[in-house]
């Protein structure tokens, strides 16, 4: 992820809701998407505050990936499709 000019890189972090939710939406780092853009996409897709979106974006940037949402599969797929539409590397994972 580029910091309005710097790219994103790897590891796992859980930040949202409880671990009992079965599916996780994970955003992976990439060397192209701008940090400011990633924050804006997270805010728009999940309705998070600027502060929370920035925090998640920084996790993606520093750790390489971050869980940005947990919940049921259908809703998770909808979120991942919106993230793909925004050209972010996102996937759905079964929560451990």
């Amino acid at each position: 992820m580029k910091a309005v000019d710097a790219p994103v890189h790897q590891s796992e972090t859980s930040t949202t809701s409880q671990t009992t939710q079965p599916w996780s939406v994970v955003i992976q780092d990439d060397p192209v998407n701008l940090m400011e853009y990633v924050s804006r996409v997270i805010m728009r897709v999940f309705g998070y505050s600027r502060e929370k979106a920035n925090e998640l974006m920084m996790l993606v940037h520093q750790k390489g990936k971050a869980i940005v949402w947990r919940g049921n599969r259908e809703e998770g797929e909808m979120y991942v499709s919106q993230l793909h539409r925004a050209q972010l590397q996102a996937r759905l994972e079964k929560s451990r």
Binding site: D30, P31, V32, Y37, E77, R85, Q87, R91, L92
Partner: protein, 150 residues
Amino acid sequence: MTLGPTVGGGLKLIPEEVQDWLVLLEIAADAHQDLASSFAKLMDEDAIWDEIVVPELETEFGAQKKHVLQVVRKARRSNQEEIIIDVQDADLWYGALNQARLSLENQYRFGAMNLSSANDIEEREARSAYLRNDFYLTLQSLILRYIKVN
């Protein structure tokens, strides 16, 4: 090429040389990677994804490239002195530029090269791609700064 904000909340591009027009025309050509399918690979064996989401993404990504190409071609043909990116089409421009940068990154892996300048790249084609990538990044940053892109 001169780039700057407009009072109407958009961004103005003023191509000054032939090369400026060529780099603008290259955006769509550089965005050659099948991104929709590459994103689908992140979703393990999800049939619905391939049947529903991938075609939607292909349509959307294709529309972004087509829009930018049409705007640039039309401007060049009609000898326009400037191209305006306004709020209505900022998402299309941003998306096309992003596709171009994702494709170039996939092809050249500039992110892993730790380059300080284009002069660090010996091969002419790669150096040219690096410079285009850098221009696209600048344009994206300005779009984000001066025009709201969600």
